[in-house]
């Protein structure tokens, strides 16, 4: 996939692919970077490139990707042209459970307009509270679970539509 970001008034072009061996290959403005990445914790990645390792935390909203890595915060603007990174495969769609869990709370109803990052559903698994948040501003199209229900990994929780405005 190809993405274009804005940082400090410059454009950064990134093409990223996952190789069969599980490593990632990225092309950053013509430079090739080989690295491995493991998802850790919430919004976190352990990145390993050559001899360097770092934990990065990343969240996205409609306008930017916010990253904290090696003691610094970066806001990478999402470019409107080229790769159209912000649409991420059309946007919206289903929100699914990432692990078997019990639904503690459903905080939205069908038709609710929600903001990016707003908590939609709270689940519990392994005595951990997990919050499912809105990927962007949008509308709840369908609520598919209720409080107390136990869901399986991959089960759909909500149908969510990104707002086009």
């Amino acid at each position: 996939m190809q993405y274009v970001y804005d940082y400090d008034g410059r454009q950064v072009n990134v093409r990223i692919t996952r190789r069969p061996d599980g490593q990632y290959e990225a092309d950053i403005d013509g430079r090739t970077v080989l690295f491995s990445a493991s998802p850790i914790a919430q919004n976190g990645w352990l990145l390993v490139k050559d001899d360097a390792r770092a934990v990065a935390t990343v969240v996205g909203d409609a306008g930017a990707r916010h990253v904290h890595v090696r003691g610094q915060h970066y806001a990478l603007g999402v470019a409107e042209r080229g790769g159209r990174a912000r649409r991420r495969g059309g946007g919206g769609g289903d929100l699914t459970a990432q692990m078997p869990a019990q639904i503690l709370e459903v905080r939205v109803n069908v038709g609710d307009r929600v903001q990016a990052g707003q908590v939609l559903v709270v689940m519990e698994a392994m005595k951990m509270e997990l919050r499912v948040t809105a990927p962007s501003d949008g509308v709840v199209k369908q609520v598919l679970v209720q409080k107390g229900q136990v869901v399986e990994r991959g089960q759909r929780l909500l149908e969510f539509g990104e707002e086009v405005s």
Binding site: Y24, P39, V58, V59, V67, V69, Y74, A125
Partner: protein, 501 residues
């Protein structure tokens, strides 16, 4: 002892007060506006009541609504925190009139310190030094000129009728005085329809140093040393620390005693703060007294080992102070940084938005007082402070080094913050030398503002991985595990917490 407290506030200070209540076995009652339904202070309280809409006038400043909740919930006391109604003597009196205990100073002490001219006269009578000046409602230009010699140069010509910088002149020598007086008088007449002027000595390179006091209802008043609060931008405190690098032991002793005298002069009871302006030459002058708990109280708690909020409740319950002045020691060094949702590169405008990810630092001798959690919104209605990070070490240099690491390990994603500005300030020469006065930051803003950091390849890779995996939706890898601690630990799930053990 008190049994159930209405906490008439929100955010980090409401959470802080609740922590003290829980340790004391006092049940907690939170109030909230419609903007704070899911706020941390609401979740942590034993009971919570909706009191109105988001604008403070319709909720946190609505004393009738607050008193009605206190009554309904069966509270026996009210803690106001800071801001909102904390320094309104009418509210304090209303609480007392309702038969409740006010966890704060007597209303008349609030009132007397609230009127600056009254406070100034009281302090002069009590022998507390005030900024030398001259004020006479019938002063002619000739009288002002004569008085200026007594006040000394440099001095400030100020308009009696107003504020906001209008009618203010800084005069450095007698030759410039006449012009300044005439100019200020014309400006004051136009701006406030009131030509009266007064004079005040202009304190150059002044440090804002305040002294924490505690007084019980039995006549015991002590001070808990100073807090250096000169790192300000437009009168907004950014970093506070104790001890102050400016003070000698002798000066500290004098200021402590002056603060105790100031508190006694108004019959003060409970926790309060006496603010002074101090010069490198060793002079200090009373500015005002804050008749409430201060935002920056934690630094005092760390160096004295005293829990100020717990003592506020003990004092309110009529207990005597558990120590004398001689028992109190100032040990080690503590620094507080205020993390704000604001954009230092855009005029420090508040940055409203959603804090999608908040992971405070977990380090020894680092305390975080915060009222937010991941997913919370920073709204236009309230103060944009996200957290107070407080670092402690045995030395000042050690505390600075610890604070730098604490800030670097603070993850706040989704809104712009002043974290990198705080880091730059902490690591500046001026801060290292303890030479920051109240004008330094505004004067040197251009050099203090760090450039945007060069883009780290890892940041680009993380953003691309995020997009490749369609994250920011719920489709993130759920490998959350119930381990606390280092946010850099691969086992740590920073956005989760364990329920019920």
């Amino acid at each position: 002892m008190l049994k159930k407290c209405l906490i008439a506030n929100r955010g980090e200070i409401a959470v802080r007060i609740m922590r003290a209540c829980q340790e004391l076995g006092i049940r907690t009652v939170a109030v909230y506006s419609t903007a704070d339904r899911n706020a941390r202070h609401v979740q942590l309280a034993d009971e919570a009541y909706l009191i109105g809409e988001a604008p403070p006038q319709q909720s946190y400043l609505n004393s009738d609504a607050l008193l009605s909740v206190a009554h309904q919930a069966g509270c026996d006391c009210v803690h106001p925190g800071y801001g909102f109604l904390s320094e309104r003597e009418m509210f304090a009196q209303a609480v007392l009139d309702a038969g409740l205990v006010w966890v704060g100073p007597p209303p008349f002490a609030i009132a007397q310190m609230g009127v600056k001219t009254t406070a100034r006269a009281l302090m002069q009578a009590a022998g507390v030094p005030v900024v030398p000046g001259y004020q006479d409602d019938h002063a002619t230009l000739e009288m002002l000129q004569a008085a200026a010699q007594q006040v000394g140069f440099p001095l400030m010509v100020k308009a009696a009728g107003g504020g906001g910088g209008k009618g203010i002149r800084i005069v450095r020598e007698v030759a410039a005085l006449r012009d300044a007086l005439e100019g200020a008088r014309n400006e004051a007449q136009k701006a406030f329809n009131d030509p009266r002027l007064f004079l005040e000595r202009y304190i150059e390179r002044g440090h804002h140093i305040e002294v924490q006091v505690l007084a019980d209802a039995h006549g015991n008043t002590v001070h808990l040393f100073e807090r250096e609060c000169s790192a300000q931008r437009r009168h907004q405190k950014i970093i506070e620390e104790t001890p102050s690098p400016l003070l000698t032991p002798a000066l500290r002793e004098q200021m402590g005693q002056a603060a105790v005298n100031a508190a006694r002069a108004v019959g003060y009871v409970n926790a309060g703060t006496v603010e002074f302006i101090a010069t490198p030459a060793g002079e200090f002058f009373f500015l005002e007294m804050n008749t409430r708990l201060q935002v920056e109280h934690p630094v005092t708690e760390l160096v004295t080992g005293v829990d100020l909020v717990k003592l506020q409740f003990a004092i309110a319950a009529g207990e005597p102070l558990p120590f004398t002045q001689a028992d109190l020691r100032q040990q080690g060094h503590a620094i507080e940084c205020r993390v704000y949702a604001e954009d230092p590169r855009n005029g420090f405008l508040p940055a409203i938005g959603t804090v999608a990810h908040f992971a405070p630092p977990h380090m020894p001798n680092v305390r975080v007082d915060s009222g937010i959690q991941s997913g919370d919104s920073i709204t236009i209605h309230y103060d944009p402070m996200i957290a107070k990070i407080i670092a402690y070490d045995s030395t000042r240099a050690g505390a600075i080094a610890r604070m730098v690491q604490a800030l670097r390990h603070t993850v706040i994603l989704g809104t712009t913050t002043n974290l990198d500005f705080l880091l730059a300030l902490l690591q500046s020469e001026a801060f290292a030398r303890g030479e920051i006065d109240t004008t330094t930051i505004d004067a040197q803003l251009d050099t203090l503002l760090p450039p945007l950091p060069a883009l780290d390849d890892f940041a680009i890779l993380a953003a691309a991985l995020h997009d490749l995996n369609g994250q920011g939706t719920a489709s993130k890898p759920a490998v959350s595990t119930p381990h606390d601690g280092d946010p850099y630990s691969p086992w740590n799930a920073t956005d989760s917490f364990r329920l019920g053990g």
